[in-house]
């Protein structure tokens, strides 16, 4: 079994509103899976279905080869976007309580908590109340509580909100570390740079439907459109540009006459770049030749805009 979680045509209605329409996903084991989509697309509903907070009207969810049941709660860790802790409860007591709710014994929870408190250097917070801590500090506790019971599947909804850059990095490293240890991770976010950095797989949900999913590198390949950025040292840019314009589609060009530097963006008919490279090498000194790969952000925006224009 290669997938930790499979959803089959999961559908959910709230009254007349359809929150999810036949969404099928396959989330591979031991990977970081980015769940992307604009606000209100249905990500949170899907995550809540996985956590059995709400239940689908139709469709099926398979967890680790079995139909999703109450007992699987112990194997899932969830950090919701709307998160918080009991303000007037002490840190240690609260963490123990939440761990026990996930099915851990008190002794084991205590042991694991000690480990995490030392690891994130917050050992002396045990007897503090949450209301005495800063927001970032409380977020650290929240993170520990989420991962404490060593779930097979971790779901993070905007995990970095509320963290300063330094702590965000610490948490990012911890997430990567957990993945190394074999945990599968669903990662829901709007922050595309962290998607780029962390996710191997992504799924894009828009207006209650999945409109794109797969391995991020494959998607990128599919979305690249043979556009190349070229830098060239030449003295007769005008003639060169004319010749190029006959053969290729030139998106933009700038010429710095003083330096003799020509910068071009060219769209090629295919991804085969050998011809143009050899042609250009006779015309001057190439100092830059890069295929532009679309960023996750570009793909995100482009897919959603396409979807909108088709309707």
């Amino acid at each position: 079994m290669n997938h930790i979680l499979v959803t089959k045509e999961v559908t959910k209605h709230y009254g007349k509103h359809t929150a999810l329409n036949k969404v099928s996903l396959e989330i591979p084991k031991n990977s970081i899976y980015g769940l992307l989509g604009p606000n209100g697309a249905g990500k949170t509903t899907l995550i809540r279905i996985i956590n059995q907070i709400t239940f689908p009207d139709d469709g099926e969810v398979i967890f680790d080869g079995e139909s999703l049941k109450q007992k699987h709660i112990a194997h899932i860790g969830y950090l919701p976007e709307e998160r918080g802790l009991y303000k007037s409860m002490k840190v240690g007591e609260q963490a123990l309580y939440l761990a026990q709710l996930k099915g851990m014994t008190k002794a084991e929870a205590k042991k694991r908590l000690k480990f995490w408190f030392e690891r994130l250097e917050i050992g002396d917070w045990w007897n503090k109340k949450i209301q005495e801590l800063s927001k970032g500090m409380a977020q650290k506790i929240q993170f520990i509580v989420t991962v404490l019971h060593r779930p097979k599947l971790l779901i993070f909804d905007e995990p970095f909100s509320g963290f300063d850059p330094i702590n965000a990095n610490i948490i990012k490293d911890e997430i990567l570390q957990l993945k190394e240890q074999g945990t599968s991770i669903i990662f829901s976010t709007h922050r595309m740079e962290s998607v780029e950095e962390l996710c191997e797989y992504i799924a894009l949900i828009h207006q209650s439907e999945k409109i794109l999913d797969g391995r991020l590198s494959d998607i990128k390949k599919a979305y690249k459109n043979n556009v190349f950025k070229i830098g060239l040292e030449t003295r007769n840019a005008d003639i060169l540009l004319k010749e190029l314009a006959d053969k290729f589609e030139i998106a933009s060009s700038t010429y710095d006459g003083g330096e003799g530097q020509l910068d071009l963006t060219i769209k090629l008919p295919s991804s085969d770049s050998k011809n143009i490279l050899s042609y250009l090498s006779t015309k001057g000194n190439i100092n830059n030749f890069v295929e532009t790969i679309p960023s996750a952000n570009d793909i995100f925006i482009k897919t959603i805009q396409n979807k909108g224009s088709r309707e």
């Binding site: 709660i73 919701p80 918080g84 309580y97 939440l98």
Partner: protein, 447 residues
């Protein structure tokens, strides 16, 4: 693993450790006892206030009727004018001057008598004096009719009709009221408990919503488990508080009264002091012979306490669960406490209705149609039925079918309401932002 005990434990501890809860627990009995002691003390002081009334008696009719009592004493003036009497009463600082002019007959003398005081006289003093005049007038008329005081006393009779049920159970007057008061006490206890601790449940739900921990929790436990745990935990805390209140208030009262040496009877007896020095037939208002007292005691023992307490527990449990799950649903539906008003009023309404109907209708007629109706209706039955129950079950008491129907209806309502509340709760706890309308709540039921 069952997580309910964990939730109950947390809710209980969170409540019991709460500072304001602790303060309330220990402060309330002190305040309550303090108030009772203060009232008793003030009553005692009031009783001890001495009134000295001067009497200028120019007639022949009122000799030897103004006798000194604990709170009133009389000073007789002789052979001085009214003006002198007034001046000397004022200068000596006495309470007032009773002027009885001379005259040929008692009616005239009484009609022309005056009480002069510095301020408006207290009703207590007036009542005493008036009683003396009334008594004197009565005796006068009796003697005109040729009846001596002794003869009248022998024919004056106060009468209580004997009552019994068809089954032959002997009743005594007043016992019905006592029974109703006992039942009313139980009913009132339920209402107070629901309002206080239902509110706690609601606030606790709102707290989980505003602190945004709710989604974390319900990814581990079912919302229904959380709701149930919250209700049970809070009510256990409530029972703890109630127990502490009752025990500590009892002990404090005992201590306070023994230290201050306040007679508990002073609380009850102050208003009914008999007028001394008046004819023997003016018996104390409440004829409480030793024998009657014994029957009362017997009747109190005969009240089926075990039955009463078991039904109290049944009604208490079901009633409280119904109401507190509604409170939990309200807490889930709103974002902050100020938004709860529109939803709370409809809950309080049946409770208030039950208490008022109970006190005004059930006390006087425990088995009349109104009492029956309200003791069947599930939202009022926990209170009203308990007011009816002290009169027993079966013949002479609550018919068995009524009791069974009432409890059955309550159980059905309990299941229905908890089911509905759990649905609203489940949806509501994840809804933020705007205040829901009743229509939206109805829509949530279908999610």
């Amino acid at each position: 693993m069952n997580k309910l005990p964990l939730i109950i434990k947390r809710e209980y501890l969170a409540k019991v450790r709460n500072k304001s809860f602790v303060i309330m627990t220990f402060l309330s009995p002190i305040l309550m006892v303090g108030m009772i002691v203060l009232i008793a003390y003030l009553t005692k002081i009031n009783d001890n206030e001495k009134h000295v009334i001067c009497i200028l008696n120019e007639s022949d009719y009122f000799s030897n009727v103004f006798l000194n009592t604990g709170s009133t004493s009389y000073v007789d003036f002789k052979n001085i004018s009214l003006r002198q009497a007034k001046d000397s009463t004022a200068s000596m600082g006495y309470y007032g001057l009773l002027y009885i002019p001379s005259g040929t007959n008692l009616e005239m003398v009484s009609a022309n008598s005056y009480l002069f005081t510095k301020e408006v006289p207290s009703t207590l003093v007036l009542e005493k004096l008036e009683a003396i005049f009334e008594e004197r007038l009565r005796q006068e008329r009796l003697s005109e009719m040729g009846v001596s005081a002794a003869e009248f006393a022998s024919i004056d009779e106060s009468f209580d009709i004997n009552t019994a049920t068809f089954a032959g159970q002997q009743n005594i007057k007043g016992i019905n009221e006592i029974k109703a008061v006992i039942g009313g006490g139980f009913g009132y206890l339920i209402m107070m408990f629901i309002i206080i601790y239902g509110g706690f449940v609601m606030r606790s739900v709102i707290e989980e919503k505003t602190s945004r921990i709710i989604e974390v929790i319900i990814s581990s436990v079912k919302p229904f488990q959380l709701m149930l745990g919250k209700i049970i935990g809070t009510s256990l805390a409530g029972i703890t508080q109630f127990a502490i209140w009752i025990v500590s208030a009892g002990v404090l009262l005992l201590i306070a009264f023994s230290i201050l040496n306040i007679d508990l009877d002073a609380l009850n007896g102050s208003g009914t002091a008999s007028v001394p020095g008046v004819g023997s037939h003016m018996a104390p208002p409440v004829p409480m012979g030793d024998q009657t007292l014994q029957i009362y005691a017997q009747e109190l023992f005969q009240i089926p306490w075990l039955m009463l307490i078991s039904f109290f527990l049944v009604y208490f449990l079901l009633g409280y669960l119904i109401y507190s799950s509604i409170y939990a649903a309200i807490g889930a539906a709103v974002d902050n406490e100020t938004d709860t008003q529109q939803f709370i009023f409809p809950i309080i309404l049946p409770l208030m209705l039950a208490i008022y109907v109970g006190f005004f209708s059930v006390f006087s007629n425990p088995h009349g149609p109104i009492a029956v109706g309200f003791s069947l209706f599930p939202l009022t039955s926990p209170i009203v039925m308990l007011m009816r129950l002290p009169s027993g079950i079966g013949t002479g008491g609550v018919p068995i079918w009524e009791l069974v129907t009432s409890i059955l209806l309550l159980i059905i309502t309990f299941i229905g309401i908890v089911w509905l509340a759990a649905k609203i709760y489940r949806v509501g706890i994840l809804m933020y932002g705007k205040r829901p309308t009743y229509r939206e709540l109805f829509k949530w039921l279908k999610y």
